[in-house]
């Protein structure tokens, strides 16, 4: 009688990738495996360039997630909002699919009269509060991101504060890219407490390349390993939908 977990990748970056696979393709791949990809673009005073912006939106769109571009200062509030919104979106998707099974193929939430919609929403709310959540945080530490890392850290503590107020369990893992020896490096293994991050973060050095695509590909496999380890249901989207009966 266990529920599956919602799985998200939260990518925090300030610009365009310049190395390895196309991150938009990698996000699409993640989605196929039931992992939502959210992206937060962090700005200084200057605005982000057109290409960076397009990539950020593209990754979130093909990753079935939410994207948001913000100034470093607003990061805390944004990180938790984006994560929440993506959760609701995913759960709504799940509930909508169930609805279609019950009501027939062409029915979506919007086709229900407003009165009925409320009841569906309550189910989504309930799920959002109780579902198990796994968030893999993927942080770009190349070049100009370096100065923003203290703010990123704060924002992640804040995220853990928000999510740990839920009834459901959370697990977080943190990866940075580029890593010292490879495209991506794990700095924090799955844990319910992001606070453990404070000791590891200062050690980071930042390099020149921005291998966003390879980093996403790596991140996905990390979920997969875990999944088979924990012997949760395999197969496409059923990671969450499954199980409880």
């Amino acid at each position: 009688m266990r529920k599956g977990a919602l799985r998200q990748i939260l990518l925090i970056t300030d610009g365009c990738s310049n190395h390895g696979e196309d991150p938009i393709a990698m996000a699409a791949l993640a989605r196929e495996q039931g992992i939502t990809v959210n992206v937060i673009g962090v700005l200084d005073q200057d605005t982000i360039d057109e290409n960076g912006l397009r990539e950020i939106e593209g990754i979130a769109m093909s990753g079935g997630g939410v994207s948001q571009v913000v100034y470093a200062k607003q990061l805390s509030q944004t990180v938790q909002m984006v994560t929440r919104k993506a959760m609701t979106q995913t759960l709504q998707g799940v509930v909508n699919r169930e609805l279609k099974q019950i009501l027939g193929s062409d029915v979506s939430l919007e086709d229900l009269p407003p009165e009925k919609r409320g009841e569906v929403m309550e189910v989504v709310d309930e799920l959002g509060e109780t579902v198990e959540l796994e968030v893999l945080i993927l942080i770009d530490t190349s070049g100009s991101m370096k100065t923003k890392l203290p703010t990123v850290k704060e924002a992640l503590f804040d995220l853990s504060l928000s999510l740990n107020a839920r009834i459901g369990d959370n697990r977080f893992a943190v990866f940075v890219f580029p890593g010292k020896h490879s495209d991506v490096e794990k700095v924090l293994d799955w844990t319910p407490k992001l606070e453990a991050l404070s000791t590891i973060f200062p050690k980071l050095t930042s390099g020149g390349l921005t291998p966003t695509g390879p980093a996403l590909r790596e991140a996905m496999t990390y979920f997969n390993q875990k999944r088979s380890l924990r012997r949760l249901i395999s197969g496409d989207e059923s990671y969450f939908e499954e199980s409880s009966m």
């Binding site: 571009v69 909002m81 919007e110 407003p114 409320g118 569906v120 107020a165």
Partner: protein, 322 residues
């Protein structure tokens, strides 16, 4: 703070545009825009009967959640916690042919909290806060926490100034995680507590509203949040009067609204009857004075009531004679 995905033209509907619901077929004529928030846009509009506030959003999820809360509130008997809900429907937007969900609520005419204080004076702060506490008390009793409590969500309606809560989007069942919040009023941001929906979460925000009312320019957290707030309370003459209440609210020591309300009332009376004294002396004697004050307050009230009754009787008598 968030980017608005809401279509630009939905935020700029022309006066005279009629929004007709696809399900219930009621029509609403737009008069002007009242405000725009993260989750949608609110217009003043006219139904066949009255002026109403109409909220449109292409975020169906947000609209549905808010409607759920408003519905609940309308079941709380006799008290107006939020604007009352009048209609929920979808509108087929003729420009894009998209279906836009909307809901219609009671139009609350009034000033925003800080605007009202600026116009009418600082002595209103505690009075409005007391009213706010009473509303919160009812809300908490129903098992909810307001969550996104901030002055922008408080309107003071007339003619007898009465505080009303707007924007119920953050209202959360107790024991769950706060759904929506604004950093400045959030105890999590200040490093002073969790984001669990419990009555003390709202009471922290109430304390922050009082502090903000005395420091009109918004400030940010620097270092130790608790210490910073404490020294700001000390540094302001108005806040100093209520410091013991504020400190307890900030530290999450009030588990129920009633406790904070009681202490605040005591502090108000204490302050207006007592000559200025050193703080430590004041707190030591506070208990005794409180009681005495209450009794003399009672006598006063009785006399006023008697006088009013007398006038009223005279008035009725006059009417009858006519």
């Amino acid at each position: 703070m968030m980017n608005h995905t809401l279509k630009n033209h939905l935020c700029n509907l022309r006066a005279g545009t009629v929004i007709t619901g696809k399900w219930h077929k009621h029509g609403y004529k737009i008069i002007k825009r009242l405000g725009k928030g993260a989750n949608g846009v609110v217009y003043l509009a006219e139904s066949t009967k009255e002026l109403v506030a109409l909220k449109l959003s292409d975020n169906s999820t947000a609209i549905t959640s808010e409607v759920n809360v408003l519905r609940r509130f309308s079941k709380v008997q006799g008290v107006a916690l939020g604007p009352s809900l009048l209609d929920v429907d979808d509108w087929r937007d003729p420009y894009t042919n998209q279906v836009i969900p909307f809901y219609v609520m009671e139009y609350i005419k009034g000033d925003e909290f800080f605007t009202f204080i600026r116009k009418r004076g600082k002595e209103w702060i505690v009075i409005l806060v007391l009213q706010l506490l009473s509303a919160l008390e009812k809300l908490h009793k129903e098992g909810w926490v307001f969550g996104d409590l901030k002055p922008e969500n408080l309107l003071v309606a007339g003619p007898a100034p009465t505080i009303r809560l707007l924007d119920v989007g953050g209202t959360t069942l107790q024991g769950r995680a706060i759904k929506e919040f604004t950093e400045f009023y959030d105890r999590g941001y200040w490093g002073i507590g969790s984001r669990k929906a419990e009555p003390s979460y709202d009471l922290f925000a109430v304390a922050m509203i009082m502090i903000h009312a005395c420091y009109p320019t918004r400030f940010e957290k620097k270092g130790d949040g608790r210490r910073q707030l404490m020294s700001m309370i000390q540094a302001d003459a108005t806040l100093r009067k209520y410091q013991s209440v504020l400190i307890k609210a900030i530290n999450g020591e009030y588990k129920q609204v009633a406790e904070m309300k009681r202490d605040l009332i005591a502090a108000i009376h204490h302050d207006s009857y007592m000559p200025r004294q050193k703080t430590n002396e004041r707190t030591r004697t506070a208990g005794r004075h409180k009681k005495r004050k209450k009794r003399s307050g009672l006598v006063e009230t009785t006399m006023i009531v008697m006088a009013l009754l007398f006038i009223y009787v005279l008035y009725i008598y006059g009417k009858v004679l006519q």
